[in-house]
């Protein structure tokens, strides 16, 4: 690999930043240009709705780089810059500043943006979204005791903000259009646990909520539901999902579906162009194409894409997983939770539980757990190893809470 080669990373989020770091760790000495439209160096997003929103963390603590490690990496960071065009045949990109850049390899880690809520064509100054550090800082200033916060969307962002805001003394109401919370990502049992906890902590939750009107002048004063109920508010937080940033890939003629399509090496339909993170649509072990908007996926794909840009031919096979924190409780999921799986439930301490998802051959495919703090982490990590091993497991032992999962794992390797 010649030192004069230029690798360009579009998107300076977690996946893009991890890719840049990995290129250097793996010995790449060429030029690395990292382009992002935010003003900051790459940072991890999970704390935005938790520790950072609580005021217990900082941008520095969430950053992938320390000031010193960034300087040492020699990565060129173009912040506040947009890429407007890619020419895959010529291996060139065009920036909004008019400058164009040649690349030997290109990584698209363009992430996504918050899906916006249609407010009847109006603009209210007290409507917030949460995807970036700047948005988290703005929202944080408003979460004062007694503030009436309305949250639209009972998914992870909405519920984590609800939890943080409630801890800070806000009056919180969550509106979810569906029949249960976080239905896209979680089994019913977990949705119920979330609902019970949030309600116990004083969060008002409306399921099956239909919004009839947004009332107010420059500020949103209240939301009226289809039932006629009027919900006054000081602040609205919208958490209704993420729209992947596909425009650049579409314009360049790359294959896309719900995201930028890649092969098992994370390479797009164009030579020398890779994709990673929230925007990447890849094929799972079960053949299904999908995207993942998780910390783990950004971390693993950013890393693997970088190694493959350097000529390695590693296939992407990381076991997916995520966590979410609410008040003093946490949930974690690993693997895939297929609707047709056989599910075994194990009791954990303090009313926690672990759901094990097995295929017809009694091999573990996924697990999801709920418990105090990070107490489910040990079991979830053991499940990850059981998923990786794909051993046929003894069902009776799995169902028996007195048999440790570590014992089951040792047995599986014996």
């Amino acid at each position: 690999m010649s030192a004069s080669e230029t690798f360009v990373i579009v998107g300076a989020g977690h996946a893009g930043g991890r890719a840049g770091l990995t290129l250097r760790e793996a010995g790449f000495t060429g030029r690395i240009v990292l382009i992002g439209d935010e003003a900051h160096l790459p940072y991890e997003r999970p704390p935005l709705s938790k520790a950072l929103l609580k005021g217990e963390s900082s941008l520095q603590a969430c950053s992938l780089f320390s000031e010193a490690s960034f300087i040492a990496s020699g990565i060129e960071h173009l912040s506040g810059v947009k890429v407007v065009d890619i020419d895959p045949a010529e291996h060139r990109i065009q920036l909004d500043s008019g400058v164009s850049l040649s690349y030997a390899k290109l990584l698209l880690a363009t992430g996504g943006q918050s899906r916006s809520l249609e407010l009847g064509g109006r603009n209210f100054s007290n409507v917030h979204y949460l995807r970036t550090f700047d948005e988290a800082t703005q929202l944080q200033q408003h979460l004062t005791p007694g503030t009436r916060l309305l949250v639209v969307g009972g998914g992870f962002i909405g519920l984590e903000v609800a939890s943080t805001a409630r801890d800070k003394g806000c009056e919180v109401t969550v509106l979810e259009a569906g029949a249960r919370l976080a239905a896209r990502a979680l089994p019913e049992r977990l949705s119920e646990a979330l609902l019970t906890l949030h309600r116990r902590m004083g969060v008002v939750i409306h399921l099956g909520a239909q919004i009839a009107a947004f009332d107010g002048a420059s500020r949103l004063a209240s939301i009226r539901l289809a039932t006629g109920e009027q919900l006054p508010c000081d602040l609205l937080l919208v958490g209704i999902g993420v729209q992947p940033n596909l425009a650049l890939a579409l314009k360049a003629g790359l294959a896309t579906g719900s995201g930028i399509k890649v092969d098992r090496f994370l390479q797009t339909s164009a030579p020398d162009i890779y994709a990673a993170g929230d925007v990447c649509e890849f094929q799972r072990a079960d053949g299904e194409f999908h995207r993942q908007e998780t910390w783990r996926n950004a971390e693993a794909q950013g890393r693997l894409a970088a190694l493959n840009m350097l000529g390695q031919q590693q296939t992407f096979s990381a076991v997916p997983g995520f966590w979410s924190d609410h008040f003093d409780f946490g949930l974690q999921t690993v693997g895939t939770l297929a609707p047709n799986a056989q599910v075994i439930e194990r009791e954990l301490a303090d009313a926690g539980f672990l759901l094990l998802y097995l295929d017809a051959q009694s091999r573990l495919q996924g697990a999801s757990a709920w418990g105090v703090g990070n107490s489910v982490a040990k079991d979830i990590k053991l499940c990850e190893r059981l998923i990786e091993s794909q051993s046929v497991l003894p069902m009776a032992q799995l169902a028996d809470a007195s048999v440790s999962l570590k014992g089951v794992l040792r047995g599986a390797h014996a």
Partner: protein, 115 residues
Amino acid sequence: MSDQWVEVCHVDEIDEEDVIRFDHQQKTYAVYRSHNSEYFATDGLCTHEKIHLAEGLVMDFIIECPKHNGRFDYRNGKALNAPACVNLKTYPVKVEGGKVLLCTLSQEQQGLGAA
């Protein structure tokens, strides 16, 4: 240095191949018992994002952070994979009269740091 030793717990209060959290004078430690019942101690918080390591999984001589899968060798504190890249400090541990004792002066402070 004898005054730096503090009692952590009874030897049986940590399961084999497991870890507990130990707080002492505004500092938090993770104290480990290996599968062959040797005892070790490190800083209690992951160097990546300040999460209590004692909630993580111990396998052999490795502790895995409960959130981000950062792994450390708890015998010498070495960070083994991203996102963890800063090593943990380690602390001398000894067993006396059925009790686990920890020295609050780290190996590194004593100039015995792992290479």
